[in-house]
Every structure is written in C-alpha cells, then in structure tokens.
C-alpha cells in the first residue's frame, strides 16, 4: 500500500468506528458480541459492555485462544480479537431498548500480526491472489436447511413440497420472517422457497464478494435458528438428517469479474463461455476430490453425496443436467453479467471461509496453469460402467470423510491455499472424528445384524 492508501484506510476505519459508536448510543446498545469462527466454521465469541466498545474497536480484545478449536498454535494461547468496524450490526431480534450488537473480528497474535489460522485471513489471502490477477470473485449461495419441531422431536415442522405456496404451510411464515430479519441485517435475499422434502427450505442470497458472503452465511445461520426458536421450532443445517429425504446443500453460483466485465463471458465463443471460465471450471473439476474434505467436512456430509438425492457424486461438468458437480445455470442471453458457474458439492454445514478459499484456489489454479476443460458429459456418469467413466476421464468424488481426508492430506493445492497451520489442525480434528465414528455401533448395524447374526 502507498502512504496515501494507508492514510485513506486509516480514515475509513476511523469513520467506521465513529459510525459504530454513534449507532451504539442511538440504539441504546448495552452489550456487543464479538464474533469469530473456529476452524470448522462454528460461531464463537464473547460479549463486551458498551463502556469497553471504543477501546476494543481501536485496540482489540485479548482472549485465551487455546480453547477455540484450531485457533492457537502450541505455546501461544493469548490471541487478540480485532473487530472489523464495518461489520457493526444491531441484532434485530433482540429488544429495542438495551439492544445488542455484533461485530465480526479478525484474529491476531499478541504482537498484532494476523493469525495464520484465522478463517477470514485465509480467505483474504486467496482473494488477494485473485486481485493480483485483476479478478473479483463473487459468490451467491443457495442455503438449504430443515425446519424441525424441536431438537428433541426432530420431525419436520411442515409438510410442504417444492415451491409450495399454500397457506397451510406453517414453515412459509417463518421463512418470511427470516428473510425480513436477514434484510434488516444487511443480507440481501434473492429468493426463497419450500424445498422438496417435508420441512426443508431454501434461501438464496444475492451475490457479493466471498469474504462478506462468508460473514453473511455465519450470520444467516444465527438468524435462521433464532427466528425458528422464537416459534418453538428448531433448524438444522445437518447435511443429511433423514434417510428418506434429500440432504441440505449449499450450491454456490460464482463469477469472476475484471472491473465491470464478466470474465466468464465471451460473445465470440459458441457457448458464450470465455477461456477464463473454461480454465476455472477445469480447475474446479480437477481439484474437486482434494477440496471435498473442506466443502463437505462431516461424516454425515457423505450421506448426502450419494446417487439418487440430487447431489453430485462425480467430478464432472454437465450442460443442462442438474446432477453434475459443475454446471452453467440458465442465464439471459442479453445479460452477459448473468453468466456464471454453479458448484454443487458444498453443504450448508461447511466452514464458508475455508470452503470459498479452497474453491477459488482450485479455480485460480486452472487459470494460472491453463487447464483444458473436457467437453460436457451428455450422459449421466452414474449410468456408465467403470471403464466407460475412465474413458471419459470422470473421477468419483470421495465417498466418505475418511477417503476425503486421505486425498486432502496429500493435496498440495490445499496446503498452499489454506496454509500448513490450518491444514494440520483441520486434519487432526477430522481424523479424530472419523476414528470416533468408526468405532461407534450404529442403529443400522443393530437393526440389520442383531437378530440375524
């Protein structure tokens, strides 16, 4: 940064701090929640009182990072939560008097350096890499979730079907309230509808840069759960809560822009896809097996990535077919801005910071190394024999957390994109989860084997 840029950034920061302080006064804010996430994308944080706000905005708040999964390295447990003043937001579901606000924080070491395990910093690093190529990365996720009666009674809250608009759809009211709260929190919603399964809903967010979006997804989950709990319900983002229903995905639409121009669009190309778009897609497809551990990080994630529930199973590109891993959603031919790529593997329970970092990293790899994109498949690879798939170069996505971790553990791309510190603690944490799952006797085994054997 030049000196002028640094001065401007300092002024912008000071202005944002003053905005927060005035807003706090205006809304009679008593408590401020400092938000950040652990390595799995779980929301963490602590509260400060209004008296501490100004000091904390300027110098941050120290806390013991050792208790946060994957945050502190051995021997350095003290960390600093440094609020990002531009994320100041009053929580709309709290009472109007004595209201509560939140601030997203960057995590720093005590010496003020960005922590290399900080999710926001990891994503920022990849965004900077795109920025050096003059590219801006926009994402728009479609978040699916199940609305249940309660966590103790996990039956669906309603029995609506896909796009149902009937008035007895109790879930629709809640969805409307949720959308209103999201809008109040500065998270624009593109549209929302009832999904295929009982109690399953989808809310699509309007595209924005990946860092703001990752923050928004974290906020989204809090809002959705909060609104549900006010009506006595419960929301789960578990990737596949019911054997008899589809899972909850987080299909993400994405585009790269060079200034005002959509870098994925080329009017001279027969399918309107630019070379950049083709290379980006090729990067996604080639590296998909490696990044699946990040986009689908739970044992349960792999109960969604199976045939027959509209989720991707193979690392392929399909033109019209919904079931592919990468596809080009329908777009208006006269609107070049709307051409975009959809990546369908992530589930709603991923860590959005690391997931978007890994996905963008894979795509940029394709651009930098000029990968070639294979022609889109015209047949569903599920209907092919293994040798046919091999002939078409179709690779299967990992089918369990275990196999995903094995591939991720060897991934140079992940090591480069997320950094060794993050990868180390991520793999350690996830291998433990797999080991625990492996030695657990499941309901399936009891019902299947107990009487038979």
């Amino acid at each position: 940064m030049t000196q002028a840029q640094e001065t401007k950034q300092r002024d912008t920061n000071e202005e944002a701090i003053r905005f927060a302080l005035f807003s706090a006064h205006e809304h009679d804010v008593r408590f401020i929640r400092l938000w950040f996430t652990d390595i799995l994308g779980t929301l963490k944080g602590f509260a400060i009182t209004i008296d501490e706000l100004e000091g904390v905005l300027r110098t941050g708040a120290s806390f013991d990072g050792a208790s946060i999964e994957g945050l502190a390295r051995e021997g350095e447990s003290d960390m600093v939560a440094m609020p990002d003043p531009s994320t100041w937001q009053i929580l709309p579901w709290r009472p109007r008097e004595n209201s509560v606000a939140r601030l997203f924080c960057d995590i720093r070491t005590v010496s003020g350096e960005p922590a290399d395990t900080d999710n926001r910093e990891v994503l920022r690093r990849v965004l900077r890499r795109a920025g050096e190529m003059s590219l801006t990365y926009y994402v728009a996720p479609e978040l699916e979730y199940f609305h249940l009666r309660s966590s103790d009674d996990p039956r669906p809250y309603d029995s609506g079907g896909y796009f149902d608009q009937s008035s007895d759809n109790a879930g629709a009211d809640l969805r409307r309230q949720t959308v209103l709260s999201l809008e109040e929190m500065g998270i624009p919603v593109k549209h929302s509808h009832h999904e295929v399964s009982d109690g399953q809903h989808e809310i699509d967010l309007r595209h924005t840069n990946a860092l703001t979006m990752a923050d928004s997804i974290i906020t989204f989950k809090v809002v959705v759960k909060e609104i549900a709990s006010q009506s006595g319900g419960y929301v789960t983002f578990m990737p596949r809560p019911f054997t008899q229903s589809n899972g909850s995905g987080m299909h993400t639409h994405m585009s790269l822009f060079k200034g005002d121009k959509n870098a994925f669009f080329d009017s001279d190309s027969p399918d309107n896809l630019s070379v950049t778009a083709r290379q980006f897609m090729a990067g996604l497809i080639r590296h998909a097996p490696e990044i699946t551990a990040i986009t689908n990080q739970w044992v349960n994630s792999y109960k969604r990535l199976v045939p027959g529930v509209e989720a991707p199973v193979y690392a392929n590109y399909t033109a019209g077919n919904q079931a592919g891993l990468v596809r080009i959603p329908a777009y208006r031919v006269d609107k070049e801005d709307s051409i975009r790529i959809e990546y369908r593997a992530p589930d709603s329970a991923c860590n959005p910071y690391l997931a978007y970092a890994a996905i963008l990293g894979a795509g940029l790899e394709g651009i930098e190394n000029e990968y070639e994109l294979a022609e889109p498949l015209t047949r569903d690879p599920a209907g092919m024999s293994a040798s046919e798939r091999q002939a078409h170069g179709v690779v299967q996505l990992p089918d369990s957390l275990d196999s995903a971790l094995r591939i991720a553990g060897d991934s140079e791309l992940l090591n480069k994109t997320l950094g060794p510190a993050v990868m180390q603690s991520f793999l350690r944490n996830k291998r433990l989860e797999w080991a625990e799952y492996s030695r657990t006797v499941t309901d399936y085994e009891i019902s299947r084997y107990l009487k038979l054997l």
Partner: protein, 224 residues
C-alpha cells in the same frame, strides 16, 4: 472536549478551584502550565484560564501571551485590578474573583463556543432527506432510516455531490477500502438496498445512468 490551560494557578485558592473544575467537567482536559502558554498548544481546541492573584504584572503578561497565541482567554481578576489590565482584545473575558466553579465553567463553555463560531452542524439536506454527518444519522420526512455503515457512506458521498454522475469504479474507490475485494457489482447491491430504504412513492434520489453509473437527484424528483 477541549484543553483548559490553567495559567498562574499557584495560589491555594486557585488550586482548590482547579480541583473543583476538574471533577465537575471530566470531559475537558485541565492542565496547569505555569505562567505562560506552552509552544505546542492546540489553539483551535483550547482555552486559557488565567488567575494570577499575587501579581498584576504577571496577569497582564499572561493575558497578552494567551491572546498572542490566539487562545480564547478568561482572566479571573480582583475588581480593583481591572483598570490596570488591557482587556481591549475581544477574545478576553473576565470574571471577578473569588470565583465560583459553576460560573467559571459556564464561561469556559461560552468562550469555547464563541471561538468555534456559530454552531454549524454538518448536515446535507435534499428535500425531505437529511443526512446529519455529526451524528451519522439519516432521516426521511423526519423518520429515521437505519442504514448499515457502507450504505451510509455511499449515500453521504453521492448526496454531497448532487447531479454528478459517478461510475461504479469511482464509487468503489471513494467509499470502499483499497483492501476491499468487492468489485464494482458490490456498488449495485448497495444502491439497490439504499433505494429500498430511502425511496418511497414520491421520491427517487438515486438515479441509474445507463452504461455509466449513478447520479444523485437533488430534491428527490418524483418519478416520471
């Protein structure tokens, strides 16, 4: 908050007054500085309070020094001292000692207010839209509008320059950090949200200029 320079406060009575002032006006900085104004004084945000009960000459010198430094000045004097001191400079206030803390404070505030000139709140007004830059508040027809920080900054920027057409690129550079990863489409998203908050049936403040960017329409012309 301002800095109050306590000049000549060596006497036990003056020390007591200094203490009282300090405890009843914690929003100001009180600094005892001996008999003259220090070199590094921030004249725009300070006031000189002079009390030299033992020496008329010291008092006169201190007043001259404070006035020369461009400070709003209050001299606490015994009534018999008045004829000996030049109070011709318009910036000097005086008050008879012994001095009451409440009165002195009131004079400090008055001197500060006078020095700062007429109250000029930084307000941008267009028709029923008001942007109060001192309070970071926006209201439309008297009703407060809740904006996020970036929405506020964007509105403030274009509303201060009505009629001018801005490209998305220019707005992004002006309103967002250099370190920002948003790109120009972010501007569109924010404009859309801003419009939904500050436009109503009668007003449309932000106009899209096809293929260029956006323009703020002063007065909020009614849409065609």
């Amino acid at each position: 908050m301002a800095t109050v320079l306590l000049i000549g406060f060596g006497h036990p009575d003056s020390a007591r007054l200094a203490q009282e002032l300090e405890s009843s006006a914690p929003h100001h900085d009180f600094g005892t500085v001996g008999n003259s104004v220090p070199d590094d004084v921030d004249a725009a945000n300070s006031v000189a309070l002079i009390w030299c009960p033992r020496s008329l000459e010291d008092a006169a010198a201190a007043i001259a020094d404070a006035v020369a430094n461009g400070l709003p000045t209050i001299a606490l004097l015994h009534d018999f001292a008045i004829p000996s001191v030049d109070l011709s400079s318009g910036h000097v206030e005086f008050s008879f000692s012994p001095n009451d803390c409440a009165e002195t404070l009131r004079r400090i505030e008055l001197a500060l207010a006078r020095a700062r000139g007429p109250v000029d709140r930084d307000v941008i007004r267009h028709g029923d839209l008001m942007i109060d830059q001192d309070r970071y508040e926006v209201s439309l027809s008297g009703r407060k509008v809740d904006l996020t920080y970036k929405e506020y900054e964007l509105l403030k920027y274009i509303a201060a320059r009505p009629g001018r057409v801005f490209s998305r690129e220019a707005l992004l550079r002006a309103v967002w950090d250099y370190d920002y990863f948003g790109g120009t489409r972010t501007v569109d998203v924010h404009v859309r949200r801003l419009r939904s908050k500050i436009n109503d049936v009668r007003y449309q403040f932000i106009e899209t200029v096809w293929n260029v960017g956006y323009r703020f329409k002063s007065g909020g012309d009614a849409p065609g």
